[in-house]
């Protein structure tokens, strides 16, 4: 079949990413592996919340925290999935130089490597949300969920995360040491500043502007609004903004960050080629 270069790059990278992610064990163990980590992370927050609130799981505070934490899994897996491909292929498999000589589109190849992270995190998000609805009676009524808004926000958010991952991949190309820590540091920072598990207003006033320039803050808010409806407004980071305003901000920010990420990736990639970083191995 004669596929276009971008499509071939995407499909091949997706398949490769999936194999790297999953074929180290049998499917059952892989499924357990994929859900134990996120469930344990959610359990930490659930216990912390239940100790302080006397297990009042019907409060909008709990829904805020639980949903934000569940969907933040996409941030960690998609964003770092794209950028980690550089470290993996350059340092571990030592194939990045061969990939660069192959007739493929490199940015799309890297985005494809993030698809595996999207698939596994989707599985984990569904399980986490399911557990929340069954065991903690999260106030989500599947009949009243705004599915249109949810799907639109989800697609926009995943695209935005993948493009931010491309930016990190560019940085990883230029950094020899600590490249592995970059994704972790960015993921941890975004978790703190994006209002994932507490409203941005809880942060000290001088740190709050960081949260307001991150598209992830608006994305998580839209996801909560789509799932919870008016209940989300009772405990919200952006109570003054309507859904349409939030969507408009998310679209604008996604567009700006996407253009910026692609441009910066090209700049950093060119610099990496000049400095001979493409086939760098440090065993660091």
């Amino acid at each position: 079949m004669n596929r276009s270069v971008p499509l071939r790059s995407l499909l091949t990278a997706t398949w490769l990413g999936w194999k790297i992610e999953s074929n180290w064990t049998d499917p059952l163990l892989f499924a357990i592996y994929s859900i134990v980590k996120p469930l344990a992370a959610a359990a930490i927050l659930v216990v912390m919340y239940s100790i302080i609130s006397q297990a009042d799981f019907q409060s909008p505070v709990f829904a805020y925290l639980f949903i934000g934490n569940a969907f933040y899994q996409y941030v960690a897996r998609v964003l770092t999935g794209v950028s980690w491909a550089i470290i993996d292929d350059r340092e571990h498999y030592r194939t990045l130089k061969y990939i660069y000589t192959a007739p493929i589109n490199i940015p799309i190849f890297l985005l494809g490597r993030g698809v595996a992270g999207f698939l596994t995190s989707s599985f984990a998000v569904i399980i986490t949300m399911g557990m929340g609805m069954i065991f903690f009676k999260l106030p989500i009524d599947l009949k009243t969920v705004d599915w249109g808004l949810f799907l639109l926000a989800l697609v926009l958010g995943i695209f935005m995360l993948a493009m931010l991952g491309l930016l990190l991949a560019g940085v990883s190309l230029r950094v020899a040491q600590h490249a592995g820590g970059i994704g972790e540091a960015v993921g941890g920072g975004l978790f703190l500043f994006s209002g994932a598990i507490f409203p941005i207003s809880v942060l000290p006033a001088w740190l709050q502007p960081v949260g307001f320039v991150l598209p992830i803050s608006y994305w998580l808010e839209l996801i909560r609004r789509a799932l919870l409806g008016p209940l989300a407004l009772q405990y919200s980071t952006f109570p003054a903004l309507s859904n349409v305003q939030l969507l408009g901000i998310l679209i604008a920010m996604t567009a700006v960050w996407s253009v910026l990420s692609l441009w910066l990736f090209r700049v950093l990639e060119h610099s990496a080629r000049e400095k001979g970083n493409i086939d760098l191995t440090t065993n660091y």
Binding site: P38, M48, L65, L192
Partner: protein
Amino acid sequence: MASLPPIPEKRSGFRLFLMTVLGRSYPRVIGMQREKSWLFFDTFLPMLGVAGYVFVYRALQAPEDYIGFVVVGGAMTAFWMNILWSMSSQLYWEKETGNLPLYIIAPGPMMAILLGMALGGLVATTLRATVIILLGSLLFNVQYVVVSLPLLLLIFFVAMVALYGMGMTTASLFLLLSREAWHIANLAQEPVFFLSGFYFPIKNFPFWLAAAASLLPLTLGLDAMRQLAFATGPSLGFLSPAIELLILVALAAIFLVAARWLLNKMEKLAVREGRLTESRR
């Protein structure tokens, strides 16, 4: 080709064991001094997690001691990460980079190599954990009410011996692993953060869950240290610090003996099955 200088004195027995321990711990301690940026990454990343959980408690308007629990728990995560990535997985990394056969053919005993890794890791990680506690305490204004500093230090020391004994035990198990080693170490992060009560007192668990979690040395170590360092600590403790200390002593002995036994067994098995030099990327 330049020849190496002759070895002035051949060491054996306990002196060889001791020199091997020091030799293997040396790069861990000195490496941190040479690459100071590690200090930033190893304190900055846990601090992000600590800050996140602190702000959750602030959002929930929790009592201030809980902020201290998170700071101390966050510092202890450095030890668990060190156990996972620099103890348990270390022999697997050495295998991947081709160093493991060199360890095996060198005259130093493998147990001393593991002990050296533990000693070096413990010293380096204690420095990092101290920085996290100092920074976290200053940033979030944590108030400590220390009941008995000697007992607190003794419990920390015994918990570390038990924890690194556990790391030595799992290191020998990881000797047999291949690609799955990374994933298994990765899998053991959050569940242990949860079970060991890094961010909350385990007294809130059902008794048998807390008892099972106590097999992890950090669980009781953290619980006892919180009881001795915070005003509300004793009322939120699982068992009394004295009983927790006794259990930790027992765990330390069990893990050290198990490490020695398992290392011998696993090394023989790995040699027999030809796994010491495999590198399945």
